[in-house]
Symmetry: D2
Subunit: 167 residues, 4 copies
């Protein structure tokens, strides 16, 4: 992880069906706590991107990933899509942790401001999602991506539609 | 690619430095045509995500990817981050194809509207980026993600800062 | 309308209640056609801003306004808020024209890209809203603001929540 | 201001040229403090909308306005454009207060999330803009619109381009 380089990587992912099915008996907060603890399968894209989930609490979730060389764009900085994926994950999950048992959500839109470029030796990136508002139908959250020095790298806001509990 | 499943995947990527260095002698259009033709290294994140670049012309670039099981979120649909990565790629590259020799750009922000959920048997996703405006300092582009039936899955707009030629 | 100047202006507005009540018997398309024809009260903010509605059809609405000196910010260009108001109007109304009798909508978010500055002698500004997608619950539209020469001044996208017919 | 009603209003505005010219000798913070104190002309659009500027400090500016009947849309709630104008004002000005003497800015984009509808008897609306990041070329800020009970009505983020001091 010292700048651009060629490489080969192998990763594995689990079938996420048990995590999806857990929605029938666990709240969003319980589901993400279980994923963070390894008790439920992580999302496949999390394995693809190399995500970790170091913190989960009601209304706030942190995703982390290394600024790895396979996340680079041609100019040798972390691709905006990788940043958007981290931020999309943390803001959506932050909302999910405040939803009651059986309720789900779908993301309507995500906006990301890219503030500082990140190189492949940038160490651990932390994306902290926090809820701005959860109503009966719509929720809004924001996310902040920081580097190990605490500098702000990117900022995001999202709008999610809350899907009512299955009856 | 028939819905959620467990799996293992190995991918390789090239050092993108030659692509970055090509900016000294090739325009953005020439660079992306060379990447699409395999004559310059694709961005590492493109190998990670399984991207192809079927079309490159002045002001318009198409990225494509299969709706693969490693791109799923827990509820069995393609993660918004994967969609954002496709759209971020096509809109930025569309702008790049209109910049003169030596000029570069950096993405200031990206907004994505997620319109239809995409499952892992959704076939090829195509992200078409088109320029809305290229000025002397700032450029704006939009992107549309469609499925094999031509249905709109997501829409994006981006603002990029144009970096002047190195003198 | 020849650049920054001091001034005094008086405007009047109608009670919009008849327009709101018309939603019980008229579709969104019929309502906006009636407003454009002067048969129903225009929104008060339209009188405030000096808006006209020259074109209304299914999925497409045009709002127009003069680049007047009372819309200026301190640097002598049309304030972004005035541009956002024109664009918010045209994109929301474009969606409304495709909704069935009795259905309404509420705007969840609006994003505006400001592309060219507009001065107070800029003539008529035209904001054309077009629908990108109308589903059962959510709709997305885009808007383009142009000057009399047809140059693009600003671009917007919006996400609206569709409110079901009153039963 | 007790719900939708018809009415007539007269307002006056000053030529903003002295405010624009003050940029040669005053910093952004000084300019907005002078506008708030009535020592420099307010922007014409502020008079149009009925804005006040109760608080100005480095990196944070508050705009306020009454939820007046001339700001309504047809359904009797404050038009999203009025909300966008308040938020666009506070976020841009918050950035301006951190710029050095002679530097200006132009707003590249604004995104607004509309969270709660506001009626015409909603009392004073307060839009608080705070800087998220100010760099050498680009700045990002956020804004929050609240009602007298402190409830969040809308949230915005903006990207501004910093214009270098005139030399």
């Amino acid at each position: 992880m010292t700048g651009p380089s060629a490489g080969t990587r192998t990763f594995s992912w689990q079938d996420p069906t048990p995590t999806w099915q857990a929605g029938a008996t666990m709240s969003g907060l319980e589901i993400w706590q279980a994923i963070a603890a390894g008790a439920l399968p992580a999302p496949p894209i999390g394995e693809l991107m190399g995500f970790r989930i170091p913190e989960v609490e009601a209304g706030r979730v942190v995703f982390a990933a290394d600024a790895a060389p396979w996340l680079l764009n041609p100019i040798g900085t972390i691709h905006g899509g990788a940043i958007a994926t981290l931020l999309d994950s943390c803001v959506g999950c932050a909302i999910h942790t405040l939803l009651p048992l059986g309720a789900g959500y779908t993301t309507l839109e995500l906006k990301v401001n890219f503030i500082r470029g990140v190189t492949a030796d940038g160490g651990e990136l932390r994306a902290e999602g926090k809820v701005i508002h959860v109503g009966g139908t719509v929720a809004v959250a924001e996310g902040r991506l920081t580097d190990p020095a605490g500098r702000l790298l990117a900022h995001a806001t999202t709008t999610c539609l809350i899907l009512k509990p299955r009856e």
